[in-house]
Point group: C2
């Protein structure tokens, strides 16, 4: 019996678990202090009324034999896939229901999608980026190369013709930096992917935070993307679903490699290793995409974006370099006084009882940087900013 | 870019999707007939009151800022893991909360657990068995050998000392046969696994249907099992959660291979590629394990077991050989007149508008056999049995 020893190459604990542990230890030693988290980026606003009402109805249906639902399709209920197609139509992206797969969240899909690709592929991952991209590929022993973000490129790296990757991760608006690619920049990535027969894994989890109408909210707004990109999205941030668990993945029918439809491969993977998302959750998710639902979640997004504005304002006052926060819920800053990311983490925790996320946790290029999230309550954001004064 | 071409070795459509397609076609041609499904084995009784009440409360909590919950632990809420430990304590199995992992269902965990094992391992899979075991290993290119079930061994194969597997799947009560291993038989498997340093993947999804107190409902009721077995369980059949989605997996701390704790590896896999189960679902699941919840789900199980008795009675009248149905919701029968499994499927559908599951779909040894499930309504079971007369 052999274990998968690639797993042993991963650092022992996942970034946010490590932060959680440090905060726990601090709290034990300082039981009376009020710690404010600008850390993991978990939402704090409750679910909107439309979602709550739909989930209440769904629970009631499950309580009566005549309306009870057992197994649904592994790829999700048609009513939800159709609602998502409608949402994309408003972005001028035409999708067929069969191209949309519902899941329990983008994190699961981003990890599980790798089942359909050979382990021999070379993977290009932005640095810094969401740790799941690198970790899930390390688990399978894939070769990883970096697309380096830095102050010069505004943490929006562009294709390097010297590198010939098979899989390319992109996240826009970016976690952790909050930077957003323009349509022209995404076009460069699509052309690069097509010329290398590569596949882009496009993480659009923060698309709902884009307010500038000139910026793309889906990679499919770029011509040719359907031939080279899979898009992942989530309701965690869009609609406060981090504890409800629902996301979706788009695999276009046009996406073919080695003569094989990737849509068909993903369907086969999902029908074999997944059994669909809770009916109650899917009903809640569908409510997000109604006229009233979208209006309600937009109010919450506006609330968080005002938080982001307050954080950016304070950083400007303090003369700290930063990006993001305008079309994304994250603000990425350069640690003052050339502090390392983890030193700044300890400094903020011990001096101000503020928790943020060390940039180094998102890759080597993140060293010396730090992420604030705008998902807290207004009261906490104001208090945290006052403490920083 | 290379796809994972092991996926291409899988048959094009998953068993139950194939059945669904055939039924759909028949329905299109015969729109007025009433088809009764004794097929996929999906429950039909609504959720019990305790579960509904807890989920209603949880939805209400998610609607208010003061009680809203975002991300939970990837391994599940402590309240649910403790409830499951309490359930195991009644089986005389002592578990620690850290050994229990909550998921969206046993199917996901049975597939995903393979991430922690090397692809070089040889896998022993009962034939017939739940197709997910073989398919998920074929996806990773693992070598598969069979433990053959047949009428002679009552579809309960025992270890073959000639074979030296690394991973061993067992399912008891069995899907698809409904046969249940005795404690003495499971002891032979545990000893065999220990002597080969193998790991048993024990699927206990149907444990709640065991009524004979002499039969084991967990592999950990056998001495030494904690050193060699991972146990998977689900609320789909226990509490009608097939559309709610919740399962759990037990990885004992004693389970160490290559000097590595498999519990730690699974935690690392789950924290990387999974983000936990819906809070609302976990609250519903916890309600199942309360005193009132267990009493209520037992009533539903008794209802299904009466269905099983009615099916078995009819098969006896018809002189058809069968097993299962006494401590399991499935009845496994030999197709009459030496019909093949799929011929019998077509015969039942076209002559009686009854859908069952062809045994051949569960492996080569299932050819010539057929599975009935007892999860229908009493009315439908009675009507189906009347049609068979």
């Amino acid at each position: 019996m052999k274990v998968n020893d690639h797993l042993l190459n991963l650092s022992d604990s996942y970034l946010f678990s490590a932060i959680g542990q440090k905060v726990k230890e601090y709290r034990l030693k300082n039981p009376d202090c009020k710690i404010i988290s600008l850390g993991i980026g978990d939402v704090t606003r409750p679910l909107v009324d439309e979602v709550v009402r739909s989930m209440e109805e769904a629970v009631a249906e499950m309580a009566a034999a005549s309306t009870f639902r057992g197994y649904g399709d592994e790829q999700g209920y048609l009513f939800l896939r159709q609602a998502i197609c409608g949402y994309y139509a408003k972005k001028n992206v035409c999708l067929h229901e069969d191209e949309v797969f519902i899941s329990d969240g983008a994190k699961s899909d981003l990890g599980n999608i790798l089942d359909i690709f050979s382990e021999d592929n070379t993977v290009l991952i932005p640095d810094p980026s969401y740790p799941v991209y690198a970790d899930s590929n390390m688990m399978a022993g894939r070769n990883i190369v970096s697309a380096k973000g830095n102050i010069e490129n505004g943490f929006l790296p562009l294709p390097d013709p010297e590198i010939r990757p098979d899989l390319i991760y992109l996240c826009s608006p970016s976690n952790p930096t909050g930077a957003v690619y323009t349509r022209e920049e995404l076009k460069l990535w699509v052309e690069y992917a097509l010329s290398n027969s590569a596949v882009i894994l496009f993480d659009a989890a923060y698309e709902a935070f884009v307010h500038d109408p000139s910026l793309p909210t889906s990679i499919y707004q770029v011509e040719g993307a359907k031939e080279c990109a899979i898009e992942f999205c989530s309701l965690s941030k869009t609609a406060g679903f981090s504890g409800v668990r629902c996301g979706y993945t788009v695999v276009p029918q046009e996406l073919v490699r080695d003569g094989v439809s990737l849509n068909r491969l993903w369907l086969r993977r999902q029908t074999t290793k997944f059994n669909g998302v809770s009916y109650i959750v899917q009903r809640g998710a569908a409510a997000v995409f109604t006229y009233a639902g979208l209006a309600q979640v937009k109010e919450n997004i506006a609330y968080y974006m005002e938080n982001a504005r307050l954080i950016a304002q304070k950083l400007d006052q303090l003369g700290i370099w930063h990006v993001g926060g305008e079309n994304a819920p994250y603000i990425w800053l350069k640690c003052p006084d050339s502090m390392s990311s983890w030193d700044y983490f300890e400094y903020l925790l011990s001096s101000f009882q503020i928790v943020g996320t060390p940039g180094a946790g998102f890759g080597a290029q993140g060293e010396g940087f730090f992420r604030f999230s705008s998902f807290g309550s207004r009261e906490n954001i104001l208090e945290a900013m006052a403490r920083l004064s």
